[in-house]
Symmetry: C2
Subunit: 296 residues, 2 copies
């Protein structure tokens, strides 16, 4: 049986040597990062657990891709430039032959996004889990937060919603399944939204729940136009509102800034409503079920 | 049943509000950290898994303490000042009532070491695991690494070794068990060793394996004096060499710097050998078993 050290070496090798602001990558007790002048660091952690966040019919590449993508999506929601990440893997022996595939899916996305592996950990467990901590950078004071939405802001979303939920269906087409398995973090949009959007959040729990988080943090309400919500092919409004895992961005943008944002976004943006006085969400038909919860 | 959001709120509340260089803690998509002027950041991740790194008879406080301590130990080995950490928890429902105890053990150590919670994640799983990413800071160019040991350096260790292995025994006294369950990260020693030690590593896999890592990275060998190795009460030489989990520091120090280091260390230091030309470790009786491996 291969040792822990050999497995780690194999995994790490796929990500290349530390360069630029990452002075030292995996291999010592810790990694070393030299922050850019005038930049603040953005830190987030998210785990993918077998049977909870992905099923046995995900390919190892898809698992690796998704584990990193959901973390990069949090960086995007803060307007951050992705810098580095750390990856903790826990797995039963049966997953050992699939580690190269996981590394491949992860490293392909990492290269595409310019984010470096800064360290990792491997341990035995009864169930595969991948816990990733992502580190990004933003110019001082320019991070997007949830709590900045103001009355009069327009609510816009990137891409289409509900596709990830639809992609869980057994009869989903490969294109629809891709929305569940290969989410694309909206990093370009997040960076473009600095100085333009008042608030941002990524849609991981479903539009209704994540809009609720943004409104609650900002102390405002929203009026939605459900007919405007961009629904992914094969999905229903319910999928968009409560399905979760789309990893699109929801932004609160002052009307005069929207044209500039649309020009810089690099992806479709749709206005779905506006921020209003008060609390909660109006304009939706009926009572909403709660958004995606890992504990439900 | 309590929601994911309520459980997270409860956990996070024990750690207090973000302050100082941590501009924004848990609660948004990500945390925000303003690095100190002229400082580099040190990043490390380590996981504790139920049944692998701790047993059912650990108290929740001990689990929380150890999960953070093993990560702070990696910061200590780099000479870093601890700054912040992120905590990903995966657990079956049965652990839910024990989360406050885990948070208590973790927050007590965090406060004692001046390290803040910067974010977290909770998810369901079949087995408890706690994955912590720790972030520290060092003045530019002053991080301790594994690869700086030079021929003629003295090898010194902090505290006593083998206690963690001895603490696994069923008949271990409470004092001996404490070595296994409540390791003390040697943060003061790590910071004191900046500019004095040529190389450092924390002893997590056992003295033989970790010394091997340090020697391999530095391209040198070592002559050990086994009779000098400080053995913890209740432990044997074998525990010290291969038991692992002591979380003491092993340092390579030029002889003329040792008096200054001993003065600043804040803990006992023992010289156990010296760095020599060549490869491998001489002076030990017989052939060494391999150090602690999670995969063995």
């Amino acid at each position: 049986m291969r040792s822990e050290f050999e497995l780690i070496d194999d995994f790490v090798r796929r990500f290349g040597r530390a360069r630029g602001e990452l002075l030292l990558g995996a291999g010592d007790d810790a990694a070393l990062l030299r922050p850019g002048r005038g930049e603040e660091l953005v830190l987030t952690v998210d785990a993918l657990v077998e049977g909870v966040h992905f099923t046995r019919d995900f390919t190892p590449e898809e698992v690796g891709h998704k584990a990193l993508a959901v973390n990069l999506s949090d960086l995007a929601a803060m307007g951050a430039r992705p810098v580095a990440f750390l990856c903790a893997l826990a797995f039963p022996p049966g997953w050992t032959p699939k580690l190269p595939g996981i590394a491949r899916g992860m490293s392909k996305l990492a290269r595409g996004c310019g984010v470096q592996l800064a360290g990792g950990n491997m341990t035995r467990a009864r169930q595969l889990s991948i816990t990733i901590t992502a580190i990004g950078a933003v110019p001082r004071g320019q991070a997007l937060q949830r709590d900045g939405a103001r009355v009069g802001d327009l609510l816009v979303v990137s891409g289409e919603l509900g596709g990830a939920a639809a992609g869980l269906g057994r009869s989903a087409s490969p294109q629809v399944r891709r929305r569940q398995r290969r989410p694309t973090p909206r990093l370009g949009l997040g960076m473009a939204a600095r100085g333009l959007a008042h608030a941002a959040i990524d849609i991981s729990d479903g539009l209704a729940a994540d809009l609720g988080h943004l409104l609650g943090a900002s102390g405002v309400g929203a009026h939605l136009q459900p007919e405007q919500i961009p629904i992914a092919p094969g999905a229903a409004l319910k999928d968009a509102l409560t399905g979760g895992e789309d990893y699109e961005l929801l932004l609160a943008v002052p009307p005069r800034k929207l044209p500039a944002l649309a020009r810089l976004a690099g992806c479709p943006l749709t206005q779905i409503g506006a921020v209003v006085r008060g609390r909660g969400i109006s304009g939706l038909p009926g009572k909403l079920p709660r958004g995606f919860q890992h504990f439900r």
